[in-house]
Symmetry: C2
Subunit: 138 residues, 2 copies
Protein backbone atom coordinates (compact mmCIF):
# COMPACT_ATOMS: atom_id res chain seq x y z
CA UNK A 1 0.00 0.00 0.00
CA UNK A 2 2.93 2.25 0.71
CA UNK A 3 4.25 1.30 -2.68
CA UNK A 4 1.01 2.36 -4.31
CA UNK A 5 1.20 5.69 -2.57
CA UNK A 6 4.67 6.26 -3.87
CA UNK A 7 3.72 5.18 -7.36
CA UNK A 8 0.81 7.59 -7.55
CA UNK A 9 2.98 10.43 -6.31
CA UNK A 10 5.49 9.70 -9.02
CA UNK A 11 2.68 10.08 -11.52
CA UNK A 12 1.72 13.39 -9.90
CA UNK A 13 -1.57 12.03 -8.65
CA UNK A 14 -2.43 12.68 -5.03
CA UNK A 15 -2.74 9.35 -3.27
CA UNK A 16 -6.15 9.64 -1.67
CA UNK A 17 -7.76 6.65 0.03
CA UNK A 18 -10.16 6.00 -2.82
CA UNK A 19 -7.49 6.28 -5.47
CA UNK A 20 -5.25 3.81 -3.72
CA UNK A 21 -8.09 1.33 -3.32
CA UNK A 22 -9.07 1.57 -6.96
CA UNK A 23 -5.46 1.26 -8.03
CA UNK A 24 -5.07 -1.83 -5.90
CA UNK A 25 -8.23 -3.28 -7.37
CA UNK A 26 -6.95 -2.76 -10.89
CA UNK A 27 -3.58 -4.22 -10.03
CA UNK A 28 -5.14 -7.42 -8.72
CA UNK A 29 -7.31 -7.92 -11.79
CA UNK A 30 -5.89 -9.89 -14.67
CA UNK A 31 -8.54 -8.50 -16.98
CA UNK A 32 -9.79 -5.10 -18.03
CA UNK A 33 -12.67 -3.73 -15.97
CA UNK A 34 -15.60 -1.44 -16.58
CA UNK A 35 -16.65 1.43 -14.34
CA UNK A 36 -19.58 -0.73 -13.29
CA UNK A 37 -17.19 -3.47 -12.19
CA UNK A 38 -15.45 -1.02 -9.89
CA UNK A 39 -18.75 0.28 -8.58
CA UNK A 40 -19.78 -3.22 -7.63
CA UNK A 41 -16.48 -3.80 -5.87
CA UNK A 42 -16.87 -0.60 -3.88
CA UNK A 43 -20.56 -0.36 -3.13
CA UNK A 44 -20.04 2.39 -0.63
CA UNK A 45 -18.37 4.87 -2.89
CA UNK A 46 -19.89 7.12 -5.46
CA UNK A 47 -20.18 6.47 -9.16
CA UNK A 48 -18.82 9.92 -9.92
CA UNK A 49 -15.78 9.52 -7.76
CA UNK A 50 -14.89 6.31 -9.51
CA UNK A 51 -15.51 7.93 -12.86
CA UNK A 52 -13.25 10.86 -12.06
CA UNK A 53 -10.60 8.69 -10.49
CA UNK A 54 -10.36 6.67 -13.67
CA UNK A 55 -10.26 9.84 -15.75
CA UNK A 56 -7.41 11.09 -13.60
CA UNK A 57 -5.59 7.79 -13.97
CA UNK A 58 -6.14 7.93 -17.69
CA UNK A 59 -4.82 11.45 -18.06
CA UNK A 60 -1.82 10.61 -15.92
CA UNK A 61 -0.87 7.55 -17.93
CA UNK A 62 -1.75 5.13 -15.16
CA UNK A 63 -4.51 3.29 -17.00
CA UNK A 64 -5.48 2.99 -20.64
CA UNK A 65 -8.92 2.64 -22.13
CA UNK A 66 -9.92 -0.39 -24.15
CA UNK A 67 -12.82 -0.34 -26.56
CA UNK A 68 -13.46 -3.99 -27.21
CA UNK A 69 -16.65 -3.56 -29.17
CA UNK A 70 -18.88 -4.51 -26.27
CA UNK A 71 -20.11 -0.94 -26.17
CA UNK A 72 -18.71 -0.05 -22.77
CA UNK A 73 -15.22 1.22 -22.09
CA UNK A 74 -12.87 -0.98 -20.14
CA UNK A 75 -9.75 -0.01 -18.28
CA UNK A 76 -6.48 -1.67 -17.40
CA UNK A 77 -3.26 -0.53 -15.82
CA UNK A 78 -0.57 0.54 -18.21
CA UNK A 79 2.56 -1.52 -18.34
CA UNK A 80 5.41 -0.40 -16.19
CA UNK A 81 7.30 2.28 -18.03
CA UNK A 82 4.67 2.59 -20.71
CA UNK A 83 4.18 5.88 -22.46
CA UNK A 84 0.66 5.33 -23.64
CA UNK A 85 -0.04 6.30 -27.22
CA UNK A 86 3.52 5.79 -28.31
CA UNK A 87 4.01 3.32 -31.09
CA UNK A 88 6.31 1.15 -29.09
CA UNK A 89 3.68 0.39 -26.50
CA UNK A 90 0.77 -0.60 -28.63
CA UNK A 91 -0.23 -4.07 -27.66
CA UNK A 92 -3.12 -6.26 -28.64
CA UNK A 93 -6.36 -6.64 -26.72
CA UNK A 94 -8.17 -9.93 -26.63
CA UNK A 95 -11.88 -10.25 -26.05
CA UNK A 96 -13.15 -13.73 -25.20
CA UNK A 97 -16.59 -14.45 -26.58
CA UNK A 98 -17.16 -17.18 -24.01
CA UNK A 99 -16.33 -15.51 -20.70
CA UNK A 100 -16.78 -12.03 -22.16
CA UNK A 101 -13.59 -10.85 -20.54
CA UNK A 102 -11.05 -8.61 -22.15
CA UNK A 103 -7.38 -8.70 -21.41
CA UNK A 104 -4.18 -7.03 -22.47
CA UNK A 105 -1.79 -9.26 -24.34
CA UNK A 106 1.14 -7.03 -23.59
CA UNK A 107 3.61 -9.41 -25.16
CA UNK A 108 1.90 -9.21 -28.51
CA UNK A 109 2.58 -5.87 -30.13
CA UNK A 110 0.64 -4.48 -33.05
CA UNK A 111 2.63 -5.12 -36.23
CA UNK A 112 3.66 -2.21 -38.37
CA UNK A 113 0.98 -1.30 -40.88
CA UNK A 114 1.60 0.06 -44.35
CA UNK A 115 -1.02 2.70 -44.96
CA UNK A 116 -2.07 3.91 -48.39
CA UNK A 117 -0.30 7.05 -49.68
CA UNK A 118 -1.31 10.24 -47.89
CA UNK A 119 -2.34 8.66 -44.62
CA UNK A 120 -0.27 9.16 -41.50
CA UNK A 121 -0.82 7.31 -38.23
CA UNK A 122 -0.45 8.42 -34.64
CA UNK A 123 -2.18 5.59 -32.86
CA UNK A 124 -3.66 2.16 -33.45
CA UNK A 125 -5.84 -0.32 -31.65
CA UNK A 126 -6.19 -3.98 -32.39
CA UNK A 127 -8.88 -6.09 -30.78
CA UNK A 128 -8.95 -9.80 -31.46
CA UNK A 129 -12.03 -11.84 -30.57
CA UNK A 130 -12.20 -15.51 -29.95
CA UNK A 131 -11.71 -17.93 -27.10
CA UNK A 132 -9.22 -17.24 -24.35
CA UNK A 133 -6.76 -19.75 -22.91
CA UNK A 134 -8.88 -20.51 -19.86
CA UNK A 135 -12.04 -21.09 -21.84
CA UNK A 136 -10.19 -23.27 -24.34
CA UNK A 137 -9.23 -25.65 -21.53
CA UNK A 138 -12.83 -26.60 -20.87
Amino acid sequence: MKAIEKFLEEKHVRPTAMRMLIFKFLAQKQVAVTLADIEIAFEKSERTTIYRTIKTFENSGIVHVIEDGSGVSKYALCEAGCNCELDSDLHLHFHCEICKETQCLTETKIPHINLPPGFTATDASLVVKGTCDKCNKE
Copy 2:
Protein backbone atom coordinates in the same frame (compact mmCIF):
# COMPACT_ATOMS: atom_id res chain seq x y z
CA MET B 1 -32.33 2.14 -58.27
CA LYS B 2 -33.48 -0.99 -59.98
CA ALA B 3 -30.04 -2.41 -59.31
CA ILE B 4 -30.38 -1.66 -55.61
CA GLU B 5 -33.72 -3.44 -55.56
CA LYS B 6 -32.20 -6.49 -57.12
CA PHE B 7 -29.21 -6.42 -54.80
CA LEU B 8 -31.40 -6.29 -51.69
CA GLU B 9 -33.50 -9.16 -52.95
CA GLU B 10 -30.39 -11.23 -53.48
CA LYS B 11 -29.57 -10.61 -49.84
CA HIS B 12 -33.09 -11.69 -48.88
CA VAL B 13 -34.05 -8.24 -47.71
CA ARG B 14 -37.34 -6.83 -48.92
CA PRO B 15 -36.60 -3.72 -50.95
CA THR B 16 -38.85 -1.18 -49.29
CA ALA B 17 -38.64 2.48 -50.20
CA MET B 18 -36.80 3.43 -47.03
CA ARG B 19 -34.32 0.59 -47.33
CA MET B 20 -33.43 1.51 -50.86
CA LEU B 21 -32.95 5.14 -49.93
CA ILE B 22 -30.71 4.27 -47.02
CA PHE B 23 -28.75 1.83 -49.14
CA LYS B 24 -28.26 4.48 -51.80
CA PHE B 25 -27.14 6.95 -49.16
CA LEU B 26 -24.55 4.52 -47.84
CA ALA B 27 -23.34 3.70 -51.33
CA GLN B 28 -22.71 7.35 -52.11
CA LYS B 29 -20.75 7.96 -48.94
CA GLN B 30 -17.04 7.39 -48.99
CA VAL B 31 -16.95 7.28 -45.22
CA ALA B 32 -18.66 5.34 -42.47
CA VAL B 33 -21.81 6.95 -41.09
CA THR B 34 -23.60 7.00 -37.76
CA LEU B 35 -27.31 6.47 -37.26
CA ALA B 36 -27.52 10.18 -36.52
CA ASP B 37 -25.96 10.97 -39.90
CA ILE B 38 -28.70 9.01 -41.60
CA GLU B 39 -31.37 10.65 -39.48
CA ILE B 40 -30.15 14.07 -40.57
CA ALA B 41 -30.16 13.01 -44.20
CA PHE B 42 -33.73 11.77 -43.94
CA GLU B 43 -35.43 14.19 -41.58
CA LYS B 44 -38.84 12.87 -42.43
CA SER B 45 -38.32 9.30 -41.42
CA GLU B 46 -38.28 7.79 -38.00
CA ARG B 47 -35.24 7.05 -35.91
CA THR B 48 -36.50 3.57 -35.18
CA THR B 49 -36.97 2.73 -38.81
CA ILE B 50 -33.43 3.74 -39.57
CA TYR B 51 -32.20 1.83 -36.57
CA ARG B 52 -33.98 -1.32 -37.62
CA THR B 53 -33.04 -0.94 -41.24
CA ILE B 54 -29.39 -0.84 -40.32
CA LYS B 55 -29.84 -3.84 -38.02
CA THR B 56 -31.42 -5.71 -40.89
CA PHE B 57 -28.58 -4.73 -43.20
CA GLU B 58 -26.10 -5.81 -40.59
CA ASN B 59 -27.71 -9.21 -40.07
CA SER B 60 -27.89 -9.74 -43.80
CA GLY B 61 -24.25 -8.96 -44.43
CA ILE B 62 -24.99 -5.73 -46.27
CA VAL B 63 -23.24 -3.40 -43.87
CA HIS B 64 -20.65 -3.87 -41.15
CA VAL B 65 -20.29 -1.99 -37.90
CA ILE B 66 -17.19 -0.01 -37.11
CA GLU B 67 -16.25 0.91 -33.57
CA ASP B 68 -13.66 3.61 -34.04
CA GLY B 69 -13.40 4.61 -30.42
CA SER B 70 -15.54 7.70 -30.82
CA GLY B 71 -18.21 6.04 -28.72
CA VAL B 72 -20.84 5.77 -31.41
CA SER B 73 -21.17 2.95 -33.88
CA LYS B 74 -20.56 3.69 -37.51
CA TYR B 75 -21.66 1.72 -40.52
CA ALA B 76 -20.36 1.12 -44.00
CA LEU B 77 -21.35 -1.12 -46.86
CA CYS B 78 -19.56 -4.41 -47.04
CA GLU B 79 -17.33 -5.00 -49.97
CA ALA B 80 -18.84 -6.80 -52.91
CA GLY B 81 -18.66 -10.49 -52.26
CA CYS B 82 -17.62 -10.00 -48.67
CA ASN B 83 -18.53 -12.58 -46.09
CA CYS B 84 -18.29 -10.40 -43.04
CA GLU B 85 -16.45 -11.90 -40.11
CA LEU B 86 -14.37 -14.18 -42.25
CA ASP B 87 -10.65 -13.75 -41.93
CA SER B 88 -10.18 -12.99 -45.56
CA ASP B 89 -12.28 -9.89 -45.39
CA LEU B 90 -10.86 -8.16 -42.37
CA HIS B 91 -9.67 -4.80 -43.45
CA LEU B 92 -8.37 -1.83 -41.58
CA HIS B 93 -10.42 1.15 -40.46
CA PHE B 94 -8.91 4.58 -40.38
CA HIS B 95 -10.15 7.35 -38.12
CA CYS B 96 -8.93 10.86 -38.95
CA GLU B 97 -8.40 13.03 -35.92
CA ILE B 98 -8.72 16.19 -37.98
CA CYS B 99 -11.96 15.70 -39.92
CA LYS B 100 -13.21 13.04 -37.48
CA GLU B 101 -14.25 10.80 -40.30
CA THR B 102 -13.80 7.07 -40.42
CA GLN B 103 -13.27 5.09 -43.56
CA CYS B 104 -12.67 1.56 -44.64
CA LEU B 105 -9.25 0.93 -46.13
CA THR B 106 -10.40 -2.18 -47.87
CA GLU B 107 -7.10 -2.66 -49.62
CA THR B 108 -5.23 -2.90 -46.36
CA LYS B 109 -5.96 -6.22 -44.72
CA ILE B 110 -5.22 -7.00 -41.09
CA PRO B 111 -1.97 -8.96 -40.94
CA HIS B 112 -1.92 -12.38 -39.39
CA ILE B 113 -1.39 -12.23 -35.65
CA ASN B 114 0.45 -14.81 -33.61
CA LEU B 115 -1.48 -15.22 -30.39
CA PRO B 116 -0.04 -16.64 -27.17
CA PRO B 117 -0.60 -20.38 -26.60
CA GLY B 118 -4.17 -21.30 -25.74
CA PHE B 119 -5.83 -18.40 -27.49
CA THR B 120 -7.87 -18.91 -30.64
CA ALA B 121 -9.23 -16.11 -32.80
CA THR B 122 -12.44 -15.83 -34.76
CA ASP B 123 -12.44 -12.13 -35.53
CA ALA B 124 -10.27 -9.05 -35.35
CA SER B 125 -10.63 -5.32 -35.71
CA LEU B 126 -7.90 -2.84 -36.33
CA VAL B 127 -8.48 0.89 -36.05
CA VAL B 128 -5.70 3.27 -36.94
CA LYS B 129 -5.92 6.91 -35.96
CA GLY B 130 -4.09 9.78 -37.52
CA THR B 131 -4.51 12.17 -40.42
CA CYS B 132 -6.25 11.11 -43.59
CA ASP B 133 -5.05 11.80 -47.11
CA LYS B 134 -7.40 14.73 -47.62
CA CYS B 135 -6.45 16.43 -44.37
CA ASN B 136 -2.75 15.88 -45.06
CA LYS B 137 -3.05 17.92 -48.26
CA GLU B 138 -3.92 21.08 -46.37
